[in-house]
């Protein structure tokens, strides 16, 4: 059949995927610590119908050939790890990372996941856990039950004040983790990412020192989705989708014209 039909079909497929990525970004526009994705498009292989330089007659050559592209494809969805905005909450267990880094979270199967969402709460034993599933923050921080207030320093040192003790006592240290290629992390939902072969190995460090982002207490990092940008992208994808479907209907008309005329 006419190649244009299948070429336009790849265009429709790719735009549908792009709209799915855009709608996921918009749906997560107010998810704390969410990083937007974008679809990466690539043109598919080209097919040589007439090779440039081929013979047109015994002593002349074709100056240019005919190469038909096979359409487009979404090769990847790339997470864009730029900093989100800061949201002040004044809740002592809300922390955000300013700069690079992830919190390390212990999954129930014993492996680690990584997150930028700093909305921590305490479980029944006083350990810091994620708000949704209740996964533990690593290294484990346990707040004593008689703590009056919790102070988390920019370097991640957690100290508490206890009634009757004038000096705050240190109960733990929050370390953050950097990756060479954070785009290579695999998002697994629940604001968590897991390590993959392309992300590089996790490098644990002290926040605020040597390239690791600082920790800010009483603040959260909002999603880095720019809704205006997403809406403009949506308009663009929708129109490109329509144009591709226009090609399909044009080819359809041509083919039906053949059937009518001949």
């Amino acid at each position: 059949m006419n190649p244009a039909l299948w070429i336009s079909k790849t265009g429709l497929d790719a735009q549908t995927k792009d709209i799915a990525v855009i709608s996921n970004n918009l749906a997560n526009a107010s998810t704390i610590g969410f990083k937007k994705s974008r679809a990466v498009f690539e043109d598919l292989l080209y097919q040589n119908i007439n090779q440039p330089g081929g013979r047109s007659t015994a002593n002349t050559e074709l100056p240019s050939g005919l190469m038909l592209g096979a359409g487009t494809k979404v090769v990847a969805t790339q997470k864009i790890h730029t900093q989100g905005d800061m949201l002040n909450t004044d809740n002592s267990l809300d922390i955000m990372i300013q700069g690079e880094g992830f919190f390390e979270i212990l999954l129930p199967d014993g492996t680690s996941a990584y997150s930028r969402n700093g909305q921590f709460t305490m479980d029944d034993e006083g350990s810091l856990v994620t708000p949704g599933a209740g996964y533990q923050l690593l290294p484990q921080i346990t707040i004593p039950p008689d703590a009056l207030s919790i102070i988390i320093s920019q370097e991640g040192e957690v100290s508490v004040t206890i009634q009757g003790q004038p000096a705050p006592s240190i109960v733990g240290q929050i370390n953050t983790v950097n990756f060479v290629n954070p785009t290579g992390l695999e998002p697994v939902g629940q604001n968590l990412y897991i390590e993959t072969q392309v992300s590089g190995v996790p490098q644990v460090g002290v926040p605020g020192i040597a390239g690791f982002g600082m920790i800010l207490q009483g603040a959260l990092e909002t999603s880095n989705v720019n809704t205006t940008e997403e809406l403009v992208n949506l308009i663009e994808s929708q129109r490109v989708y329509e144009m591709n479907s226009k090609v399909i209907s044009a080819v359809d008309e041509m083919l039906s014209y053949i059937n009518q005329q001949l």
């Binding site: 006419n2 190649p3 244009a4 070429i7 336009s8 790849t10 265009g11 790719a14 735009q15 974008r38 990466v40 498009f41 690539e42 043109d43 598919l44 292989l45 080209y46 097919q47 119908i49 047109s56 074709l62 240019s64 050939g65 005919l66 190469m67 038909l68 592209g69 359409g71 487009t72 090769v75 790339q78 864009i80 730029t82 690079e100 950097n178 060479v180 290629n181 785009t183 072969q197 392309v198 992300s199 590089g200 190995v201 490098q203 040597a210 390239g211 129109r239 490109v240 144009m243 591709n244 226009k246 090609v247 044009a250 080819v251 008309e253 041509m254 014209y257 053949i258 005329q261 001949l262």
Partner: protein, 258 residues
């Protein structure tokens, strides 16, 4: 058989192929750094005895539209767009077996797609996986690094992990070239190469812009108009085929009366 029928048929077939080029351009209306293919028709003469009537059409994709696409601001430091004319030099997988083909091609190709990423071993590559070339081979960043900065002339500076902010290390310069576009041809992987197979030398005047990407330069209005024109032209070819059939039918009915 009637020559008219075959000439009209070849015309209709070539119109379909030109439409495939339009369809491909429209499918890639959102592909970063894509350059629209241009199509043209050429007359191919097949004269024989008698009147020189047989001139077939042939569609070719003569070249690409090399105009710049518009710039899209993304804010990601590894998104690069070329300001004005120029190309990024990348290394394709054929470099590894280029020697086996009798030195055919060094695997150097050119692209305008500047959506870069760093792999886990520190090589800088495009989103499609081709290695980004520096002045001497692919660029490899000394891991671990913190800040990657790319200046307007393509120089990459990094801050090694643990180093103070004042310490910046220069690790290389992206090979930016500016060949005459007439000497370039598009390969079957969508990358551009020099027609003579030689490598281009770096051009110091090419400027890149960080945090931006170049969008596809497909002009949807042009493609849609061209598509309508091709569709109507196709219908005209079919009309001629129909006419040929009618002439044929009337001559055979004429014979039947005798």
């Amino acid at each position: 058989m009637d020559k008219m029928l075959y000439i009209a048929m070849s015309g209709a077939k070539q119109n379909m192929q030109a439409l495939a080029i339009n369809a491909n351009n429209l499918a890639n209306a959102k592909t970063t750094g894509f350059k629209a293919d241009l199509s043209q028709a050429r007359s191919m003469q097949a004269f024989g005895e008698g009147q020189p009537t047989r001139v077939f059409a042939m569609t070719e994709s003569a070249s690409q539209n090399f105009d710049s696409g518009s710039l899209l601001t993304t804010g990601r430091p590894l998104d690069l767009a070329i300001n004005g004319e120029g190309w990024f030099a990348v290394q394709t997988p054929e470099a590894s077996y280029g020697a086996g083909l009798g030195g055919l091609g060094s695997g150097e190709a050119y692209t305008r797609q500047g959506n870069l990423r760093v792999t886990e071993d520190g090589t800088l590559e495009t989103a499609n996986g081709e290695l980004v070339l520096g002045d001497s081979g692919p660029i490899i960043l000394p891991l671990p690094v913190n800040n990657i900065q790319i200046s307007a002339d393509g120089t990459i500076t990094v801050q090694p992990e643990g180093a103070p902010n004042t310490e910046q290390e220069e690790v290389g310069r992206i090979k930016l070239v500016n060949p005459d576009v007439r000497s370039l041809s598009k390969g079957s992987d969508g990358l551009f190469r020099r027609k003579d197979g030689q490598d281009e030398t770096a051009d110091a005047n090419v400027q890149v812009r960080g945090g931006t990407l170049e969008t596809s330069n497909v002009n949807p209005l042009y493609e849609m108009t061209d598509m309508i024109a091709l569709q109507r032209q196709f219908e005209m070819q079919l009309k001629l085929m129909k006419t040929a059939e009618e002439i044929d039918a009337s001559s055979s009915s004429l014979l039947r009366t005798f």
